[in-house]
């Protein structure tokens, strides 16, 4: 019941917010709701057994018996921190958007809560169709968030976002349907449960593109690659980020992109082990290209937000590189980098939103000398910048270090290029920092008619938890990595014949028989 409550409580919150009669008290209400949700999700940590790689807190009910589709949720080391991060960031996002969202406040918070449900559902669903429902559902609130509260070119950006993502995912749907038929062939009973998918042996012919496993692999990988986004498919991201309102950017960068990388880990790599191994070079290659390309393009952006958007492309390249090394360092690093990117890029977008609220400009050239005027803001920005460029003691360092370690032992050639990305990352972030915060005061900063005020208590309250996380995750990485270690080790060891047990099920075989007998009866009639 715990996972269901975590996933569907935000939906109730959305309804409550939408029907709340008084507009001025919507924000505190939403903040309260999201904090409740966060504490609820923390109780998962209490019940979670980090020493087990099995699927925990499982809930499984038959949903559409005819096709063996079930309401199936579970959590393991791969999804644990992503769930907590989603619930952790939501109150921060609400607090950060306190003044910047000034129209249709109820609608905005309802969208945010629906989005939270969709993302949590994506992370926790263990049934293909159930997962797909959440995956697609997440598009709708984001579409409204960009389209209603976004910048001047918001409609172009939001339609592009929607169609790009949808285009990727429909082929995945066909692949899922096809795999449901494969389970029927293999076991005589159609099922869309991910655990049954894992058991499939899909024939693989190396070097032949039109072979079954390769096609299915690419149908899934395309959907996730667009979401991540990887290098040639990333063009929707800068548009969406620049036009989205601050909270939209934060959700998009910190959480929605993780849906793509997480799904690589959950679906693509264990489901299609041979194809994933055969094509690993391709994904590492586009990962590396993404790292360098994203960094180079970020360097020349005149707009701070666009710069951060391209830095996302670069950072997600690291994650992809790490995931396809297939060793413990790379995978743990990839997983950790997902969290780091969520914290640091989320924080960067929030900071950019704060300065944008004051000056209504994001052009780097109009700033300069900001550090003297806004010292608190500058300090926060500096800490987050350090985290983003992976300076030791910050969280970013741990992730990038593990990924590089993993890729050196797997494919050193790629690692050499990826290291270049570390340097480039420092270049574009520090150069931007220099141009914005130091040097002669720019046009906006020296404008006497509109004096700039430093951060308010609310804004400090927004930033403090993020900064704490930056150092906590940087100094004590094992406190986080230990929770996912068992699952990652299990994945690496059994990659070619991956299976996921259900925690607490003493004997998995009779259990699965009773689960499958219900649809069998329905089908026989």
């Amino acid at each position: 019941m715990l996972l269901s409550a975590i996933v569907f409580l935000p939906l109730l919150f959305a309804l409550a917010v939408a029907l709340w009669p008084r507009v001025n008290s919507v924000r505190p209400l939403a903040l309260g709701f999201s904090v409740i949700e966060f504490f609820l999700s923390l109780s998962v940590l209490q019940k979670f057994d980090p020493s087990s790689a099995a699927l925990q807190l499982v809930e499984k009910h038959l949903w559409i018996g005819r096709f063996g589709i079930s309401y199936f949720m579970g959590i393991d080391g791969l999804s644990l921190w992503l769930v907590i991060m989603t619930t952790f960031l939501t109150p921060i996002i609400i607090l950060a958007s306190w003044t910047s969202i000034d129209k249709r406040i109820k609608g905005f918070h309802a969208c945010l809560f629906i989005l939270q449900t969709a993302m949590l559902g994506t992370f926790l669903a263990m049934d293909a169709i159930f997962y797909y429902v959440f995956w697609e559902l997440s598009l709708v609130p984001m579409y409204f968030m960009i389209g209603i509260w976004g910048g001047p070119r918001r409609i172009y950006a939001t339609v592009k976002f929607f169609i790009f993502t949808m285009a990727g995912s429909v082929l995945m749907l066909v692949a899922m349907i096809y795999m449901m038929y494969l389970t029927q062939e293999a076991t005589g009973q159609m099922s869309s449960s991910l655990l049954d998918f894992y058991k499939l042996k899909i024939p693989f012919v190396g070097g032949q593109f039109l072979s079954l496993q390769t096609l299915l692999f690419f149908a899934f990988a395309l959907a996730f690659a667009i979401k991540v986004p990887v290098f040639p498919l990333h063009t929707w991201l800068p548009d969406a980020h620049v036009e989205a309102p601050t909270p939209g950017s934060v959700v998009l960068a910190a959480l929605m992109l993780k849906m793509g990388t997480y799904s690589f880990l959950r679906w693509v790599i264990p489901l299609f082990p041979e194809a994933a191994e055969y094509w690993a070079w391709l994904f590492m290659l586009i990962g590396v290209i993404g790292i360098v390309y994203g960094a180079l393009v970020a360097m020349v952006q005149p707009d701070i937000k666009k710069l951060v958007a391209y830095s996302s492309v670069s950072h997600m390249g690291y994650v992809l590189l790490g995931l396809f090394t297939f060793n413990i360092f790379g995978l743990q690093g990839g997983l950790y980098q997902m969290l780091n990117h969520g914290i640091s890029t989320g924080a960067l977008f929030i900071l950019i939103g704060m300065i944008y609220e004051r000056t209504h400009s994001r052009e780097i050239s109009k700033y300069g000398g900001l550090a003297a005027v806004l010292p608190i803001f500058a300090s926060f920005f500096f800490i987050i910048t350090l985290s983003s460029i992976a300076v030791p003691m910050t969280n970013g360092f741990v992730g990038e270090f593990l990924i590089l370690l993993g890729s050196f032992s797997a494919m050193p050639g790629y690692a050499y290029v990826a290291v270049l990305g570390v340097v480039l990352g420092a270049v574009y972030m520090l150069w931007m920092f220099k141009r914005v915060f130091f040097g002669p005061a720019g046009a906006l900063v020296s404008d006497d008619k509109h004096p700039l005020h430093d951060l308010s208590m609310r804004e400090i309250a927004v930033m403090v938890p993020l900064v704490i996380m930056v150092f906590w995750m940087g100094l004590f990485p094992n406190q986080f990595l230990d929770w996912s270690k068992a699952s990652v080790t299990h994945l690496i060891k059994n990659r070619s014949a991956y299976s996921l047990a259900i925690y607490g099920a003493t004997d998995a075989v009779p259990n699965s028989v009773t689960e499958q007998s219900a649809p069998a009866k329905e089908g026989a009639q």
């Binding site: 589709i69 349907i177 096809y178």
Partner: protein, 487 residues
Amino acid sequence: MKSNITLNDLILISPMIALFLASLIPITLKVLRGNREQNALSTLIQGLIGLVISAVLLGIFSGPAGATAFNHSLLFDGITQWMGILALSAAGGSLVLMYENPATKGNQFSELVFLTLSSSLGMLILVSAVDLLMVFIGLEMMSLSLYLMIGMSHEERLAKEAALKYFVLGGFATAIFLYGVAFIFGSTGSTNILDFLEAARGLVVTSRLFLFGITFVIIGFCFKVSIAPFHAWTPDVYQGAPTPLSGLMATAVKTVSFAAFLRIIATRSLEGSQNLFDVLQWLAVVTMIVGNVAAIMQNNLKRMIAYSSVAHSGYILVGLITAGVSEVGSFGAASVIFYLISYALMTLGCFAIISMMENSENAIINVDDLAGFARKRPLLALCFTVFLLSLAGIPPTVGFFGKFYLFNAAVGEGLLWLTVWGVINSVISVYYYLRPIVVMYMKDGEADIASHPLNATTVAVLVFAACIILLGLSSGPIFTAIEKSLM
């Protein structure tokens, strides 16, 4: 041929008898009152009661057992039951729209109710007919009432043009259909599908005459359900006709035409003729593409929905082909029926929203006219969004599950490439389904619903939207029920 009519026959056609009697009530009352309209609401209620009684009788007396009446010319099986009730419900929904649409309310409402019910009677004949001549009778009864309804409703030029176009092309299609029936009769000696059902698979191979016949019959239906390249009348007629009637044509008429189409396809002629099979597959692909691409370019909202309905005919044709080639079970046919249910809900919902915005009988609603609608009418805008997202196939709406079952059935029969075309098209369609949402929510304007009272239509819209969400979440049992009733 025996000509005695048994009690059993009468019991089976009791839904039609009830519908016929109910259709007479409003016009009889009008005549008795000296050609003055009675209260429109009571006319509407009489019409709805007739439809409900008919639907209940249909639910009771037809079923999986598949009883036949009138010397095997009418069949009351699961298809009749589901599609008949669906068509009657859609007709009921359209009646509600007619009650409050400026083009259809007023001093001819009794006649419209009469014609709607008699058109529904034709629909019931069409869904239950297994004799090709009965199919013809059903088609004509349904269509003749519609020609009249479109022609008499409006004083506007477009409506007259629509009526004439519908009449000419409908007649043309029927002629092609009858031509095919003649061929079939020539090669099999019967016009009854049940008689040549077993032989059809072989006949398609051995008899050129039969192949011609079945092809012409199929082409006749392609006209009726607007499969490209026989779809050209659809946008003009849907645009020109009063909105509630467009809704009726797009949902009820299409449902029953597909029901009859399904019976023809179920003769398994596709298995005998690879060419016919290939041609139908290409027609499905072309229809989806033509419908979706043309819809992108439309500014008129009704025209856009019309092209979208063409595209949806393409999706449904995928299901029909699946039903035509599947050896066992009724998965394909069930997926078609389920899709038609979902399609009827969302399309009628869209037409209901358009109908609410029409202030006069000559109103033209463009997509840009929706600007600001969400601010003025948040609930209705939300419902419209649900309809459009459902049409686009976004989960968890019923539109997604409709597509899921349809494509699932197609993959099961190995029609993988057709499925891929289908999903690619649903991405194309997202582009134009999002446009009204963009305009409603993201542009400023003064869009509002018409000034006259619209309570009934509002209720209908809310019911449609609720059904789309609820049926989406509980689609499994319903689908299983449909599938079982077809076995």
